[in-house]
């Protein structure tokens, strides 16, 4: 039997804890929920979990998942829904978070994987927030674009290395919406909030270059680029940015997990990927962070110097690695 816990911030500021266990089904119900003193909430939880399972490609009838809330949530409070869905996924190994999950979000369309909003005000540190401005659908956990949304956005991750304790994976998110067909070509409006003018210009130049190589996407999109951690130095985020942009515009094959990339280029208009610094610590970081289904992209120059056994270790975890000298198909 597997047991995990997920939490959610309650209306009163305290924590709601969802405990999920998995055991062989043996002819019982696929999902069973209990909430002390609130059978209606338990019923809603079972419905939410069953609906959200419709977005999973793989169905397994051999397990039973039992979910319980430690106390009844406030009247009309639905922010625990996201935590329940994630608990159900984590206990079955469908989603593997890097750390303990605290999540707030509700939805009227769990069967589409959409997350409509949250009641929680502000953005407390370490809380996974659902809603259009944060986690808009379940696929976004892995950075994938929502195939049903009007605005397409995708995320890619890149190793941030400064030799300190704060090394980790940073993410860059590209959102594109179709430009009103005003016929303003060449200079796509690209906005990058929260970063300085130099970085803004660099992001715009990288996108312009890679879209030029792509042959499409110029004068088509209004683009917003966000960084998980806007304060960083170096150019190695560029490959991740380019990949996120291509995924958002629906022009790249998709990984099942996250895309983790490092690489820069002096000639994005030629699609070339060039080497970056800090091979060893970044590879160590990636080996630590990579999970099931992740795709790791490194510069071709790194291929000969990769640490011994990195590929095998990644493959054992279900991730795959490629050293590329060029973006695009093969």
């Amino acid at each position: 039997m597997t047991t995990i816990e997920c939490r959610s911030v309650a209306v009163d500021g305290g924590m709601l804890t969802i405990t999920a266990t998995r055991r062989p089904r043996a002819g019982r119900a696929d999902v069973k929920c209990s909430v002390p003193g609130a059978p209606a909430v338990a019923e809603r939880m079972q419905q939410v979990v069953r609906l959200a399972r419709h977005t999973e490609p793989r169905f397994d009838s051999r397990d039973q998942v039992v979910l319980s809330l430690d106390r009844a949530p406030g009247e009309g409070d639905r922010d625990w829904e996201l935590a329940a869905v994630l608990a159900d996924r984590i206990v079955r190994g469908v989603y593997t978070p890097q750390r303990e999950v605290v999540a707030n979000g509700w939805s009227d369309a769990w069967h589409l994987g959409r997350i409509d909003g949250r009641r929680l005000a502000g953005s407390p540190d370490g809380v996974l927030l659902g809603g259009a401005d944060a986690l808009a659908h379940l696929g976004a956990l892995n950075g994938q674009p929502d195939p049903a949304a009007g605005i397409s956005s995708a995320r890619a991750w890149f190793p941030m290395h400064s030799g300190g304790e704060h090394d980790g994976l940073g993410w860059v998110e590209v959102s594109v919406r179709p430009l009103a067909r005003a016929g303003r070509d060449e200079d796509d409006p690209v906005s990058v909030p929260d970063v300085d003018a130099v970085r803004q210009a660099q992001v715009a130049a990288v996108l312009a270059g890679s879209r030029h190589f792509d042959g499409r996407g110029q004068g088509q999109w209004r683009t917003t680029v966000r960084f998980g951690e806007p304060r960083f130095s170096g150019d190695s985020y560029q490959l991740a940015l380019v990949m996120a942009d291509r995924m958002a515009r629906g022009r790249e094959f998709l990984a099942r997990g996250r895309v983790i990339a490092t690489g820069s280029s002096s000639a994005w208009h030629a699609g070339r990927v060039e080497t970056v610094e800090a091979l060893a610590p970044k590879c160590a970081l990636i080996a630590r962070e990579a999970g099931q289904g992740d795709r790791i992209l490194l510069p071709k120059e790194w291929e000969a110097a990769l640490p011994q056994g990195l590929r095998e270790e990644l493959r054992a975890r279900g991730a795959s690695l490629a050293c590329v000298e060029r973006i695009g198909i093969i």
Binding site: K32, S61, R216, M243, R249, R251, F253, R256, G318, S320
Partner: protein, 367 residues
């Protein structure tokens, strides 16, 4: 006088029998298989497939006259080649695969021609290229989503070759078609994502602020949602299970040569369970009856039909798994056997739920 009598008799004898009407021009371009009337001479380049009620099929070559026995349905099949474009990911419409494929000539080594089975169990009336491509795309997308085939960003040549091997086998095992060529293509020119999103946003905006144009659109017939008619869905799904499960079992039996005693037992157990599912499908109670002479409530019929449909979807997964077994070669089979266990368990669950009279019967009360 005598001469003319002789002439007319001769004409009567030599005149070919009247050909039934059949339009073969669509075959090979937009249609893969069309229903053929009895007595038709099979057009050149095509083959006729005749299927009886129990799903047994036979083929007739071009130039022969179709002679269907009582209970047989005949199709004219054009082997192709056909060209189509598949989108491997729903979320990436501008990148696709251009696939050239052909319908396999009958394989003398095989007892069942897979394409003939496809015709018998899934074709309905005719097989149009568009509909077939949609089925192939669904099969491909599901395999990629489950991670059984990999087509990651910046696919390397090695990964591409592995994908091609798996994809070719999937298409052959699931549909009985051979893939001659498959290349990645840019579909941006025909499927403009920006235009799609623009239309989507406009539709959403109209829903919030209805204007004259939107009202006009609303008045026009909306895109018909795929209607779910329980009786049709259920009959179609059960017929698929009834025809395909025996063939699937036969193929699973041959695909694995158990290496040791443990594997042999596992293999036998899988086949035994599949056999029971097949038996359960063959003896399935009628959709609309709770018990003989007792009608079943409409919503319970809906529920039963949903379970049949899910069982048929699981059958697709089983064919895909069979394709993976075939390309696995000497590789370790533990993962594949676990998948087989999952799929058979799903089939058992769905078949059991389809038999149940009410939703409550499906789940035993918790001990």
């Amino acid at each position: 006088m005598l001469g003319s009598l002789f002439k007319s008799t001769l004409q009567n004898t030599l005149r070919p029998l009247r050909q039934p009407e059949f339009d073969a021009t669509r075959l090979g371009s937009v249609a893969i298989a069309l229903p053929a009337p009895n007595g038709l001479t099979v057009p050149p380049g095509c083959a006729a497939v005749l299927v009886d009620r129990g799903g047994r099929s036979r083929r007739q070559a071009a130039g022969t006259r179709i002679a269907a026995i009582e209970g047989e349905t005949a199709w004219c099949v054009h082997p192709g080649p056909y060209t189509c474009e598949l989108a491997p990911f729903a979320g990436a419409p501008e990148i696709g695969l251009r696939v050239h494929f052909a319908i396999d000539a009958s394989d003398p080594r095989a007892t069942h021609q897979r394409f003939d089975l496809f015709l018998a169990s899934e074709a309905g009336c005719m097989v149009e290229l568009g509909g077939f491509v949609e089925l192939a795309q669904t099969a491909l997308q599901r395999e990629l989503a489950q991670g059984n085939l990999e087509l990651p960003p910046c696919t390397t040549l090695e990964e591409w070759n592995a994908f091609r091997t798996g994809f070719n086998q999937l298409m052959y095992t699931r549909f009985g078609v051979t893939v001659d060529d498959c290349v990645p293509v840019d579909l941006g020119a025909t499927r403009d994502y920006a235009a799609t999103l623009d239309a989507r946003l406009a539709a959403r905006l109209d829903a919030v602020l209805p204007n004259a144009a939107a009202r006009e659109q609303a008045a026009a017939p909306v895109v018909a949602q795929e209607a779910f008619v329980p009786a049709c869905e259920d009959a179609r799904a059960l017929r698929r299970l009834f025809l395909e499960l025996p063939c699937l079992m036969c193929a699973v039996r041959m695909a694995v040569l158990p290496a040791d005693q443990g594997r042999f037992r596992q293999h036998q157990e899988l086949l035994r369970r599949l056999d029971l599912v097949s038996l359960s499908v063959g003896t399935m109670p009628a959709l609309e009856l709770a018990a003989p002479g007792q009608p079943l409530a409409q919503e319970e019929q809906q529920r039963r039909a949903r379970h049949s449909r899910r069982a048929a979807a699981t059958l697709d997964e089983a064919w895909a798994l069979l394709a993976r077994l075939k390309v696995a070669g000497e590789a370790p089979l533990d993962g594949l056997f676990d998948e087989a266990d999952r799929i058979v368990a799903n089939l058992e669950t769905e078949a059991g739920a389809r038999r149940a009279v009410t939703a409550r019967d499906v789940e035993l009360e918790d001990a």
